[in-house]
C-alpha cells in the first residue's frame, strides 16, 4: 500500500520570523514531486522542518507520514520511519570515514547489523552508479569534498538507507552538467513504487533529467499553485514573475 506524506496548514518560525505561513502538500510514496520557488520562499525551511531541525519551530498545522504525526519525533526517529533529507550543504565530520558512517547509519535505521559482505556488495553497486571510486568511502565525511562529491555522497546515503520518502534539498545547486546527470541518474535508478521523492529546486534544469509527476510552486511561505510537468515548461520560458502575478497573494498582485 502506498503511504502518504501529508503537510497541512504548516506554519514555521525561525528566530522569531514566520517563514512558512500555511503550507499544504501531499506526496504519495511512489511519486516524484518537485517543489519550486524563488529565493527566500521557504523551500529549505520546509525541508529542515520535515526532518526535525531544532531551530525550526512549528507554530501551527501538521505533518503526517504513514498516518502518524511526525512533528513530535526527533530527527533520528523520523529517519527510522523512512524519511530522508539530502542536504543542500552537508556538514563535515572530521575523523569519521564515510564507510563507518554508512554502516552505523544503516544499523540505526534498520535496527540490525547487515553482514559485511552484503554491505560491501550493495555499496559497490551504488558507487558504480554514482561513478565513485573505491577510495571515496575511506575519506572523512564531506571533509575536503568538492560540491559534486558532497552531493554524490548524499545520493549514496539515499541509496544505502533506502528510505520511503526522500526530500532532496537543492541537490542540483553547485553541480556542473556532468555531475547533475550522474546524480539524476542515481535518483532515477532508485525511484519506483517504494520511494516518494520531493525535489526542492530553484531551477528547472534538474527536472530535465528527473521527470516529476506533480510540480508545486512555493511563494512567501505558501504553495500558490500545483500542476503537472507543464508548469516546469512555463517557468522555464516565463520565469517566476507571471506565475506569482497569476496565483500569488492578491495584495502582492495589486502592488
Amino acid at each position: 500500500m502506498s503511504e502518504l506524506l501529508e503537510i497541512q496548514d504548516l506554519h514555521v518560525t525561525v528566530e522569531q520570523r514566520e517563514i512558512l505561513k500555511g503550507v499544504d502538500l501531499v506526496i504519495p510514496q511512489g511519486e516524484t514531486h518537485a517543489l519550486m520557488g524563488p529565493n527566500g520562499s521557504g523551500k529549505s525551511t520546509l525541508a529542515y522542518t520535515l526532518m526535525g531541525h531544532p531551530k525550526y519551530q512549528v507554530t501551527g498545522g501538521s505533518v503526517r507520514w504513514k498516518g502518524q504525526d511526525v512533528l513530535g519525533l526527533k530527527p533520528d526517529e523520523r529517519a527510522r520511519t523512512g524519511l530522508f533529507l539530502a542536504f543542500q550543504y552537508p556538514v563535515t565530520i572530521p575523523g569519521v570515514t564515510l564507510v563507518n558512517f554508512l554502516r552505523q547509519s544503516l544499523r540505526a535505521v534498520r535496527g540490525k547489523e547487515q553482514a559485511v559482505r552484503d554491505f560491501r556488495k550493495e555499496l559497490s553497486t551504488h558507487m558504480a552508479t554514482l561513478k565513485m571510486d573505491n577510495q571515496f568511502i575511506t575519506r572523512y565525511i564531506n571533509d575536503g569534498f568538492s560540491g559534486g562529491e558532497k552531493k554524490r555522497a548524499e545520493m549514496l546515503q539515499l541509496a544505502m538507507l533506502r528510505p520511503q520518502m526522500a526530500i532532496l534539498d537543492e541537490t542540483d545547486s553547485g553541480l556542473d552538467i556532468d555531475a547533475l546527470r550522474i546524480v539524476s541518474e542515481g535518483v532515477n535508478s532508485l525511484a519506483g513504487p517504494e520511494l516518494g521523492v520531493l525535489i526542492i529546486t530553484h531551477y528547472q534544469r534538474i527536472l530535465n533529467y528527473i521527470a516529476p509527476k506533480r510540480v508545486h510552486v512555493l511563494y512567501q511561505g505558501r504553495v500558490i499553485v500545483s500542476g503537472g510537468p507543464e508548469l516546469v515548461g512555463r517557468l522555464e520560458s516565463e520565469g517566476y514573475d507571471p506565475i506569482i502575478k497569476e496565483f500569488g497573494p492578491p495584495e502582492e498582485a495589486a502592488a
Binding site: 531551530k55 530527527p75 556538514v91 565530520i93 575523523g95 558512517f101 540505526a108
Partner: protein
C-alpha cells in the same frame, strides 16, 4: 588498618574507583622532611650516591617556588601526603605469586590478560613499589632490560648512574625535585644496539591508599639503531581527599634509534597529576610521545623532546579530556638544538560539563639550528558553553633559517553536525560519540588497536551523561 573511603557523588561513573584494604609493611609518616627522604633510601638499601642525590633534590624542592602558572596547585598539602608506602607483598615472579587482593585489583583492570595477548613485558606498580614484573624470554636473551627502577639501580648501577637525572636534573622544577627526593618504582628499560622490540612493553600504575603520593621514576635508554614502544596506564580509587602523582620520565634515544612512549592515563578526579617527561634525541633518532590524559583533578604535563643532533625528530600526539571540576593543562615542548631537526605537535582536547583544557606548548630553536622544521596543530572541542579551552603556543626562535608552522582551532559540537548525523538515524548520544571519536581519530589511529579501542571506550564513558 582499614581506611574508610568517603566516595564521591559520581563514583559510579569511574569504574576504577574501588579500593582495597590496606596491608603495608612500611608506610612513611605523613609529610616530608630530610629524615623521610633518608628513610626511603635506607629502607631501599641504596648506594650512597643515590642517597646524596635524593637529599640534594629535597633541598631544591624546599627552595623551588610553586608554579604560579598553569593549573591551581594551591590545594596540594605537602604535609598531608604519604610519600612512601610499601605493600606487604614481595615482587611476584609469576602472576600467581602476587597476593590475592592486588591480583584482583589488576585483574579488574585487565592487566595479565592484556599481557597474554600482545605484550612483550608487563610491570605493575601498586603504591610505591612494583609488585609484578615479567618480560618475554626471547627479549631477555637479546639483552633487553625491562625492570623496575629500584631493581635497575641495584643490578645495572653503572648505566643508571650514567643517565639518571641527566635529562631532568633534580633542580628542574619543584615537582621534579620532589620526585627526585622521594622516587620509588617506575621502569628501567635498556634496549641494546640494533634490537627492535616489535611489540609494546607495558607498565601499569595504581594508587590505592588515600593521600598517597606516587612518585615513580622511569628511565629508558635506546642504544643506537634500536626501537622500543613503552605503554603506561594509570588509575586510582576515588577518595574524598586528594592524592598526588608526580612522575619523572627520562628518555635517551641514541643515534638512529626510536622510542615511542604511550600514556593512557585515567586517574580518578581527585588526583593531582604533575609529571615531568623529557627526551633527548641524538643523530637521526626519533622520539614520539603519545599522551592520552583522561581523569585527574589537575594535570600539568608537557612532554618534551630535545633534538640534540642533526636528523633528530620529535613528535607529540596528545589527547586531553576534562569534565566538571577538572583541568587538563597539557601540551608539548620541542627544543631544536641542532640543525636539520624536525618536530610535530598534534594536540586534541575535549572539554565538557564546565571542564577546562589548556594547550601549553613551546617550540624553541637555538641559534645554529638552521633547517629546523616544526609543525604545531592544536584543536579544541567544546561540548557546551560552560566549558573552557585556552591555547598558549609559545615560540622562541633564535635562528632565521627555520620553518615553523602553527594552526589552532576551537570548535563546538555543532547543532548542524548533530542534526546531520541524527537525520541518518543515530541517537543524540551516538551522534555525539561519533563526532568526538572522529575528533580524536588522528591520535587513536597511532595507538595499537587494543589501546585505540580502550581510548575510545574511556572517552565514551566520560561522555556518557554529558548529553542531556
Amino acid at each position: 588498618m582499614a581506611v574508610t573511603a568517603k566516595t564521591l557523588q559520581n563514583s559510579e561513573d569511574y569504574k576504577f574507583g574501588f579500593h582495597d584494604q590496606e596491608d603495608y609493611v612500611f608506610k612513611s609518616q605523613r609529610g616530608i622532611s630530610e629524615q623521610v627522604v633518608r628513610n626511603i633510601s635506607t629502607h631501599k638499601n641504596e648506594p650512597e650516591w643515590m642517597t646524596k642525590f635524593r637529599v640534594r633534590a629535597y633541598n631544591h624542592f624546599l627552595k623551588r617556588p610553586m608554579p604560579n602558572w598553569g593549573g591551581d596547585v594551591a590545594g596540594i598539602d605537602f604535609d598531608n601526603i604519604y610519600y612512601y608506602i610499601k605493600p606487604a607483598a614481595e615482587q611476584g615472579k609469576t602472576w600467581g605469586d602476587v597476593p590475592e587482593y592486588i591480583k584482583e585489583t589488576f585483574d579488574k583492570l585487565g592487566i595479565p590478560q592484556a599481557e597474554r595477548k600482545f605484550l612483550a613485558g608487563v610491570s605493575a606498580q601498586y603504591e610505591s613499589e612494583v609488585v609484578y614484573h615479567s618480560i618475554r624470554e626471547d627479549l631477555k636473551k637479546m639483552g633487553v632490560v625491562f625492570t623496575d627502577m629500584d631493581t635497575g639501580l641495584r643490578e645495572y648501577g653503572d648505566i643508571v648512574r650514567k643517565y639518571f637525572g641527566t635529562v631532568i636534573p633534580p633542580n628542574d622544577n619543584k615537582f621534579a625535585s620532589l620526585n627526585s627526593a622521594v622516587w620509588s618504582g617506575g621502569s628501567f628499560v635498556h634496549v641494546p644496539a640494533g634490537v627492535k622490540v616489535d611489540i609494546p612493553l607495558q607498565a601499569y600504575f595504581r594508587i590505592n591508599a588515600e593521600n598517597m603520593g606516587q612518585f615513580e621514576r622511569t628511565l629508558i635508554i635506546a642504544e643506537p639503531g634500536s626501537f622500543v614502544h613503552y605503554v603506561e596506564g594509570c588509575t586510582a580509587p576515588i577518595y574524598s581527599t586528594d592524592s598526588l602523582h608526580s612522575a619523572v620520565v627520562e628518555l635517551i634515544a641514541l643515534p638512529g634509534s626510536r622510542i615511542r612512549y604511550t600514556t593512557i592515563q585515567n586517574w580518578s578526579n581527585n588526583v593531582y597529576n604533575l609529571v615531568t617527561k623529557r627526551a633527548l634525541a641524538y643523530r637521526d633518532a626519533t622520539v614520539e610521545w603519545v599522551d592520552c590524559n583522561l581523569g585527574s583533578k589537575l594535570t600539568m604535563k608537557y612532554p618534551a623532546v630535545y633534538l640534540m643532533e642533526p636528523g633528530a625528530h620529535g613528535e607529540v600526539l596528545s589527547v586531553a579530556m576534562a569534565g566538571a571540576g577538572q583541568h587538563q593543562d597539557a601540551g608539548a615542548k620541542m627544543v631544536h638544538v641542532a640543525p636539520n631537526t624536525s618536530s610535530i605537535i598534534t594536540s586534541k582536547s575535549i572539554a565538557k560539563g564546565g571542564g577546562r583544557t589548556t594547550y601549553r606548548g613551546l617550540v624553541k630553536a637555538y641559534p645554529g639550528a638552521y633547517g629546523a622544521k616544526s609543525k604545531v596543530r592544536c584543536d579544541a572541542l567544546l561540548m557546551d558553553d560552560a566549558s573552557q579551552s585556552d591555547t598558549y603556543p609559545y615560540m622562541d626562535i633564535e635562528e632565521e633559517r627555520v620553518d615553523v608552522g602553527h594552526e589552532a582551532t576551537v570548535s563546538k559540537v555543532g547543532e548542524e553536525q548533530l542534526f546531520y548525523l541524527m537525520s541518518r538515524g543515530m541517537s543524540e548520544v551516538e551522534a555525539t560519540n561519533m563526532i568526538v571519536n572522529g575528533f580524536i581519530e588522528p591520535i587513536a589511529k597511532e595507538l595499537p588497536m587494543e589501546y585505540a579501542v580502550e581510548l575510545n571506550r574511556l572517552v565514551q564513558l566520560e561522555m556518557s551523561g554529558s548529553v542531556g
